[in-house]
Amino acid sequence: MTTSEPYVIVGAGHAAGQAATSLRMEGYEGPILLIGEEPYHPYQRPPLSKAYLAGELELERLYVKPPDFYASNNIETRLKTRCLALDRGACQLTLSDSTTVAYDKLLITTGTRVRELPVTGIDLEGVHYLRTIEDVDGIQSGFAPGAHLVVVGGGYIGLEVAAVAQKRGLNVTVVESEDRLLKRVVGEEVSAFFERVHTEEGVKILTGHQVSEFSGGSKIEAVKCANGTEIRADMAVVGIGIVPNQELAQDAGLACDNGILVDACCRTEDPKIFAAGDCTQHPNEVFGRLVRLESVHNALEQAKTAAAAMCGNEKPYNQVPWFWSDQYDLKLQIAGLNQGYDELVVRGQMEERKFAAFYLKDGQLLAVDAVNSVPEYMVSRKLIADRAMIPADRLADTSIPMKQVAQDLK
């Protein structure tokens, strides 16, 4: 059977760019339509809070593929266009320009949006979120040495922004509502390490502070906290997490629960509809549960899996998640998911900014946070996939090389 309706990809992030490429690599020769809200072709988000914010990476190098790649591979792109509704019965999408498009198969890669901070003054000039190129261009315009920056949220995005701004000579304060930095993602020891490093670099860290207001005239002048603390601010960057863009699927009756539910092949319950990337809630066999991941690796791998599935090929996605963060001279590499750990083992010297924190549950390695420690990271990726049981004393013993630790398990 031949059909003239395209394979439509909604959302133009990392997963979308990869999926369009992978569909062609899988041998699909029919029409592809990629619809994105932003004015840009798919680009990499991780550098936005790192090298791009620091001005070390040009816009062209952010692109997943050069913009002319799409036309030359017969992939139509419709940018600055939002999908308003999905009609599964008619296999049709309604777009923000009031047109409709029909699809043969649909891939939803709508990603996430920033979690909003519902306080007075959030709309003042100089208050920014960080999600898009335009956000970062706006932040950069206020990045003058000596300026007072308040970062709201002590997660990875906030700490990366703090590191870049501090190096640029701004006066930086990080305000975190929880009692420690990175509370959602790392253990107490690792939180303490990041607080110490940022403090040593000159950043002021305020944990346990709930922002209640941005004050000023038309432009921000101060950040006020619920406990009465007031911090001078010429600008603020809010990074308090992201939420999945699942409404298009949800409103069309597809099952969602903190993400669009898909199987290991990125299929939804509708045989014509697939989803990939940050917006999905999907099974992870290594951890034996459903997860929603905010990661490039997941976006790329699910995109490849979804493209294969759209072409009738089963390439189940089943990998150990991994992440990274760059702050100052710290290269943080994370493998696995630490939720549910009952033991944290530190290997190496935190004072020397070179260590790994291993998270174990009943002796099984779940995850690692490796700071300037490549062997620990690389070995752990494999051990986590193998669901390895490792004695804590061997992990902690730096006199035994990591390769040896893994070898001795066999």
Binding site: M25, P46, R61, H297, D326, K331
Partner: protein
């Protein structure tokens, strides 16, 4: 513009133009050369852009730094001429560079 030849594990050759300043990894990814995954986009965080530099180009492409060496130590099928292609920056001096791809990046 300098050219790079990528040779897949099965012998398929891809000759592409890669602008000076871009990495050898970027040249592959942007031109749909299969076999270089580069999941991290060039942050030297994933070791999925492993290549073998043709021996005659080994000196011109320089030596890997400590981070890269450490990452390569854990890649599969590592040889003397193994490099992470995200860490090789293109220049006119490298016009004609040939790199070979491993069977797998994982």
């Amino acid at each position: 513009m300098p050219k790079v030849t990528y040779i897949e594990f099965d012998g398929t050759e891809h000759q592409v133009d890669v602008a000076s300043g871009l990495s050898v990894m970027e040249g592959a990814v942007k031109n749909m050369v299969p076999g270089i995954d580069a999941d991290c986009g060039g942050a030297c965080a994933c070791a999925t852009c492993h290549v073998y530099v043709d021996p005659e180009w080994k000196d011109k492409t320089g030596e890997p730094n400590e981070m890269e060496t450490s990452m390569l130590d854990f890649a599969e099928e590592v040889k003397d001429n193994s490099r992470l292609s995200c860490q090789i920056k293109m220049s006119d001096d490298l016009d004609g560079l040939t790199v070979r791809l491993p069977e797998s990046q994982h």
